[in-house]
């Protein structure tokens, strides 16, 4: 199932980002940097391309194989979402840096350069799968909160992520007041 720009915008709306900012609606080049940081890009003001690549590598592990369009979705979402949330952006960047450090320690390479199987094993060896998400917690807890759960929140509060499970208006998505009245046949018919 294809993740669309609409999904990214919906996920942004669910996280309170300023939807409509240049980061969301601009060119691909704009997507890499927060709009407020375009003139003076450094690690503290935006998610760097490297950090974003690490986040995309996490998405490869935690998103189901049947979704496509992940890269644009994650870029649009992650950048738009952190554009006006410097503390959150810093927490996310730190968690992604931590993940890279573990990858370098165990495999002499950044997380994003590992193959899919090794990425999954790093997250599991860090015990991120069993960690309770906590923005101020231990390394696995922060990776769970800022990387894994951030991505899962974006996906499963979007229409496409919801539809994967069978709910076209998932919690967190302002999908209107029609879908709760539809029966399963009508919902299926709408998808076809």
């Amino acid at each position: 199932m294809e993740l669309s720009r609409r999904d990214a915008l919906a996920a942004l709306a669910a996280s309170g980002a300023a939807v409509g900012a240049g980061a969301v609606l601009g060119t691909d080049a704009d997507l890499v940097e927060a709009p407020s940081a375009r003139d003076h890009v450094d690690d503290s003001d935006s998610l760097t391309e490297g950090r974003l690549a690490t986040l995309l590598a996490v998405a490869d592990v935690v998103y189901p194989s049947e979704v496509s369009g992940v890269e644009e979705f994650v870029r649009t979402y992650a950048v738009g979402r952190t554009a006006d949330r410097p503390e959150y952006r810093e927490g996310m960047a730190d968690a992604l840096a931590t993940l890279d450090e573990y990858a370098r320690t165990w495999h002499d390479a950044d997380f994003r350069t590992l193959d899919a199987e090794t990425r999954a094993s790093v997250l599991e060896e860090m015990t991120v799968d069993g960690a309770d998400p906590d923005p101020a917690g231990s390394d696995p807890e922060r990776v769970r909160y800022y990387a894994v759960n951030d991505l899962l929140y974006a996906l499963y509060s979007s229409p496409t992520g919801g539809e994967l499970v069978g709910i076209e208006n998932p919690q967190g998505h302002p999908g209107g007041t029609d879908s709760y009245r539809r029966g399963p046949e009508a919902a299926r018919g709408r998808d076809e």
Partner: protein
């Protein structure tokens, strides 16, 4: 300095309102609209509307204390639960501009005529105020409820259409002779009062990011546009009275910079909810009133009542389409006035109550639209990801179905709010101490609710997985009864005009004046009483 940040007293206030929740906001708006100089003192902060999606995210995503959604908890909100049953006070309320309507569910039913029998006012007295309250809050509702008390005009907005799962329930209810009908909802079904229609975020409780669900910050803004001053982070510490003992002279309040001020006024309206109002009266003791202000009856803090939740649910062998929206669209009030009755439908019925227990009081039954797991919440709290997680989500979502309900409590003197002198808040004041338990009659009501719920679910063929009855129940977060209304000053705290018997310029606008609990969600009645209290203040001014 902005006006919002100026927390010094107003020099010539006519009215001082304590609390900026629905009661305080509506009373302040009405009185400011009449031209009075109104000051509202609110203990909590003024929240920024722009933050609501982030508060929603905090509510959905694990990793945040649920109390952090609306910044509750900490030294300001310390309390003690000393009764037979634990009472989770801070989960039940929000302090801030808008009060507990910031996190409420938004269900707004009128009490029934029978509910008023022990009260010194009756339904007819409150009926025009109910209509005004429905108009103020913006209520979406339909005229299909045969058990509702008489009303003079349609609801301000059309009701929300029934859900798909309501249609599943309808089959079983018809066979059992159980009547389903719509639910009045303080939630816009279309644009109303400059707020949008509901857009279906599905997180009504605890956050509506769109503002379609009513919250009292809207009437705070309206009050301010009529000239009222609203001071946030200005908790009232005590009320001072005149030496004649008949009038309150000032509300003494603290501000974040460590200062303490006195707001004088001609009239005072307490609108701080069923726990903080009795606490403030008890904290305001004096040589003349050693047991607390307005407490010559000894009833301040006594007769605390709640509604208790009863429910049952499970799974069905068909899709039930849950968790699209965060509100209900159908209820059953058939067992409200007579919970013991049996029913007869096209294929059976609910047996009449026959247990050897106290006769249950009224029951309100609910058909949930958010039974079972919400996929996004499950996804964030599991220990899987990728294809495994998706498979788990698909297995977990889709077939859940459930009913809920409320049962009231009769007033019992030993259910009470006291002061706990051994624990103090951030200003050194003793914290509220809650003594609460559930009696045999309420337990019987919960069992009766479970009986009916179980009969409906069995008729549908539901594989029942859980039941919440007397053993598992918890409070519905409705604080009632702690400054009860009455005509006898020896038995009650306020008179039918919502003025305290003891002090002639002190009114109470709150569910704390409820004489009985009923089993309907209380906020519409709180709003109606607040408008009535404001009218009586206006008459005295």
């Amino acid at each position: 300095m902005s006006r919002a940040a100026d927390r010094t007293p107003s020099p010539r206030a006519d009215v001082c309102v304590v609390g900026a929740g629905p009661a305080g906001a509506l009373a302040a708006h009405r009185l400011a609209g009449e031209g009075y100089d109104v000051v509202v003192l609110e203990a909590g902060e003024r929240f920024d509307d722009e933050d609501r999606e982030r508060r929603m995210e905090r509510a959905i995503r694990p990793g945040h204390d649920p109390l952090s959604v609306w910044e509750m908890g900490g030294p300001r909100d310390e309390y003690a639960s000393a009764g037979e049953w634990f009472y989770p006070l801070n989960r039940t309320r929000v302090k801030g501009v808008g009060g507990t309507t910031l996190h409420w569910q938004g269900m707004v039913m009128r009490l029934h005529e029978s509910d008023f029998e022990p009260w010194p006012i009756d339904y007819a007295d409150l009926r025009p105020y109910y209509a005004e309250a429905e108009s103020a809050l913006g209520v979406a509702g339909a005229a299909d409820n045969p058990y509702a008390p008489p009303r003079e005009e349609p609801f301000p907005m059309p009701g929300f259409e029934p859900s798909y799962s309501d249609s599943i329930f309808a089959e079983a209810c018809e066979r059992l002779g159980v009547t389903m009908h719509s639910v009045p909802s303080a939630r816009n079904s279309e644009g109303y009062d400059d707020r949008s229609a509901c857009v279906g975020y599905g997180t009504c409780q605890p956050v509506c990011p769109s503002g379609a669900k009513y919250s009292a910050d809207h009437h705070v803004a309206k009050a301010e546009s009529e000239g009222a001053r609203v001071l946030d982070r200005a908790p009232v510490q005590r009320l001072a009275h005149h030496e004649d003992g008949e009038r309150v002279t000032a509300a003494v309040y603290a501000t974040p910079d460590g200062e303490t001020y006195r707001q004088e006024a001609r009239e005072f309206v307490l609108a701080a909810g069923g726990v903080e109002i009795p606490r403030l009266l008890l904290l305001s003791n004096s040589d003349q009133y050693p047991d607390g202000l307005a407490n010559s009856s000894g009833a301040v803090g006594r007769y605390f009542m709640e509604h208790l939740f009863a429910g049952a649910g499970g799974t069905l062998d068909r899709a039930t389409r849950q968790n699209h929206v965060g509100f209900m669209t159908s209820e059953c009030h058939q067992f409200y006035d007579d919970p013991t009755q049996g029913t007869a439908g096209t294929a059976g019925g609910i047996p009449a109550w026959s247990r050897d227990e106290p006769t249950p009081d009224g029951i309100k039954l609910e058909f949930l639209n958010y039974a079972g797991p919400s996929p996004v919440e499950t996804a964030l709290s599991g220990d899987e990801w990728g294809d495994d997680l998706l498979e788990t989500l698909r297995e977990g979502y889709g077939n859940a179905i459930a009913m809920g309900g409320l049962v009231g409590q009769r007033p019992r003197k030993d259910n009470r709010i006291e002061l706990d002198p051994s624990t103090t808040d951030d200003h050194g004041n003793p914290v509220p101490e809650i003594h609460w338990r559930v009696d045999a009659r309420t337990e019987a009501g919960l069992r009766r609710a479970n009986e009916i719920q179980r009969a409906v679910l069995d008729e549908l063929g539901v594989d029942v997985a859980w039941t919440v009855g007397p053993e598992e129940t918890g409070p519905a977060y409705h604080h009632m009864g702690t400054t009860r209304m009455g005509t006898d000053p020896d038995e009650s705290v306020v008179n039918p005009r919502l003025r305290t018997h003891d002090l002639r310029n002190l009114s109470v606008a709150s569910s704390s004046v409820f004489v009985t609990s009923g089993a309907m969600n209380p906020t519409l009645t709180i709003a109606a009483l607040a408008l009535k209290a404001a009218d009586h203040v206006d008459e005295r001014l």
